[in-house]
């Protein structure tokens, strides 16, 4: 028979001064773990939030990102007539050939320079990306060297306010609008007219094609047709799939989060162990009394493990609460796929909170195990005689 759970809970709380250090230590570990994982989750969410499930994206075979892809105009001429592609009322194929260029621009407040992804996009390409909307100013006019930048990037880069301009390639580009990508990867891009982009950056090739097939079956057939046609050497896949795979940037952050958490948790385990050794040491006679009353060793161990686990749970809750403060905070990092600045938000998801709490409890239980076993193994008479 186990000891009542209230025994463990009250013991954990009654010595709150001595247990505070452990609670704070575990809170710190969980905070770092959850925060780094929420960073990775934010990047993944940004990529996973991008694209229309009906669209198909085509890049050069072997290219890991649109910006590293080059597709000839000849390929565009051939593919646009494929019968699998949906057409407008006027019979025009719904396909957009985009140009992506990386440009180096200064950050605000002399914060150094960083790469920004510039997308040359066609009117059709804008229609195919309805999640992108204009939040300030107006859309660019082709031929006037105008650009629309992400509102989130505008807060981070110099000369990105409406009416300001910056030099890139052979041209001076004027910012005429701010776009909002709805939490997608487009929040990390600047858009201008596709033909103008090819002219400014002297590009004879396209970077990618975005296609709307007639229907699901046509989409499957189109992917197979492009992939299997030996003339093209192109890779076609659903747009959402492409962006879902663009989570390479999140991997090292996740790894770092896990690594740091493991390293710090070793310290937290020792902190918990220290606290529980002290708690058990101060209660040796009490434990002896429980044994005298008939409670078995196992009951004592379980009661102490619950106590340690509960303490750690409190620490975990505090850590999650601290991490949650950053939920939704927008930040940016270098994207390993595009080597450009990518903007995203911290995402403290319910799953991350559960993981954080579970992690905390594991730390607490591991830290408590040795003191608990040691206390339970003490002969009853020795425990009773303890001062």
């Amino acid at each position: 028979m186990a000891l009542p759970v209230r025994y463990s809970f009250r013991n954990a709380l009654v010595r709150w001064r001595s247990t505070l250090a452990t609670v704070l230590g575990i809170a710190l570990v969980v905070f770092v773990f959850v925060l780094l994982q929420s960073l990775a989750a934010g990047i993944e969410k940004s990529s996973g939030n991008t694209g229309d499930p009906r669209n198909i994206l085509v890049v050069r075979k072997g290219a890991t990102a649109e910006s590293a892809s080059l597709i000839s105009r000849e390929n565009f001429q051939q593919i646009q007539y494929f019968e699998e592609i949906a057409r407008t009322e006027r019979g025009e194929p719904i396909i957009s050939a985009d140009v992506l260029v990386l440009i180096n621009l200064p950050r605000r407040n002399n914060g150094g320079e960083a790469n920004v992804l510039l997308r040359g996009v066609t009117p059709r390409g804008m229609e195919l990306r309805p999640q992108v909307s204009l939040v300030a100013g107006r859309w660019f006019t082709p031929g006037k060297r105008e650009v629309v930048v992400s509102a989130k990037l505008a807060r981070r880069f110099a000369n990105f306010d409406l009416g300001e301009s910056f030099r890139s390639g052979s041209a001076q580009l004027t910012v005429v609008g701010w776009l909002d990508g709805g939490g997608s990867a487009f929040d990390s891009e600047c858009w201008l007219d596709a033909d103008e982009a090819r002219a400014i950056f002297e590009r004879d090739m396209y970077s990618s094609f975005l296609i709307r097939p007639k229907d699901k079956v046509s989409g499957t057939n189109l992917i197979a047709r492009i992939e299997n046609d030996r003339r093209f050497k192109l890779k076609a896949e659903k747009e959402v799939e492409y962006y879902r795979k663009q989570t390479m940037t999140a991997a090292p952050i996740k790894w770092l989060g896990g690594f740091l958490a493991v390293m710090m948790s070793v310290g937290a385990v020792f902190a918990a162990m220290n606290t529980m050794y002290a708690a058990v040491g101060a209660r040796t006679r009490e434990i002896g009394t429980l044994r005298v009353l008939g409670f078995r060793r196992r009951a004592v161990v379980v009661a102490l493990l619950i106590e340690g686990g509960f303490l750690a749970f409190l620490g975990g809750g505090l850590g999650c609460a601290l991490a949650f403060y950053w939920n939704g905070y927008t930040t940016a990092t270098l994207g390993f796929e595009t080597f450009s600045e990518i903007v995203f938000q911290f995402r403290v998801t319910p799953l991350l909170v559960i993981e954080g709490l579970f992690f905390a409890v594991i730390v607490g239980v591991i830290g408590t195990l040795l003191p608990a076993v040691r206390a339970s193994r003490l002969p009853v008479i020795v425990a009773l005689k303890s001062v």
Binding site: M1, L3, P4, R6, Y7, R10, N11, V14, R285, E286, T289, L290, R291, V292, L293, G294, F295, R296, R297, V380, I381, L384
Partner: protein, 234 residues
């Protein structure tokens, strides 16, 4: 040479101790705490164990109560040789057969008086209603029914010891062992505690074994035995 003290009653003694030895190892020296004790204790007796410090009286009490083990010899309580039981069996046996009263009360500080008294009953198959009734009865018996929701720190020393007696009684054990139960109490509280222990023996038929230094406390018992250097003396 061992002195035997046999109970007067014809009934089978509740405690039968034969040739009990307890030797401690202190470094390279052997310390004999009990030196061949043989003793019978009758059912319903209030036996006091007296003697100077280090005479072995607490050790004897602990062996009778199944808390400590002898080096050799036997100790039968209600016909069961407690020296032959393993740890788990001893834990169960103590829970069902022995009530403990300690000098320092040994209440669990984070539990209320009611919860402290209820603790030994959690190891039984009693329903919560039955447990409640028994706890109330035990607390009423020691006159602390109105203090059941108090934590130990909110009680006086005498009240704490009465809660400890209620805890010792609550499982209705036939044997109650008390190790200097009045050692930490003022004379008034000590008198209350001794009166309760005496009435448990006289009215409820419990066998009470009490270790004490105090001859006044020993006077409450029905019989007193003295130990000196691990041997019984009279």
């Amino acid at each position: 040479m061992f002195v035997r003290f046999m109970a007067a009653e014809a009934e089978e003694p509740i405690v039968q101790i034969r040739e009990l030895f307890k030797v401690y190892q202190q470094g390279e020296i052997n310390v004999t705490a009990l030196n061949g004790i043989s003793l019978d204790i009758a059912r319903g007796e209030f036996l006091t164990l007296m003697g100077p410090s280090g005479s072995g009286k607490s050790t004897l009490l602990h062996i009778i109560a199944g808390v400590d083990r002898p080096s050799s010899g036997s100790c039968h309580v209600q016909g069961i040789d407690v020296t032959a039981l393993n740890e788990s069996e001893l834990a169960d046996w103590r829970n069902h057969n022995v009530g403990f009263v300690f000098q320092t009360f040994n209440l669990i500080p984070v539990l209320t008086a009611y919860e402290n008294v209820e603790l030994p009953l959690l190891l039984t198959r009693l329903s919560s209603g039955e447990r409640r009734r028994q706890v109330q009865t035990a607390l009423e018996l020691v006159g602390l029914a109105d203090r059941q929701h108090h934590l130990p720190r909110q009680l006086s020393g005498g009240q704490e010891q009465r809660v400890a007696i209620a805890r010792a009684l609550v499982t209705d054990p036939s044997l109650i062992v008390a190790d200097e139960p009045t050692g930490n109490l003022d004379s008034h509280s000590a008198q209350d505690v001794l009166t309760i222990l005496q009435s448990l023996s006289r009215s409820a038929g419990k066998t009470v074994i009490m270790v004490t230094h105090d001859p006044k406390a020993a006077a409450y018992g029905s019989r007193s035995v003295h130990l000196e250097k691990g041997e019984l003396s009279n």
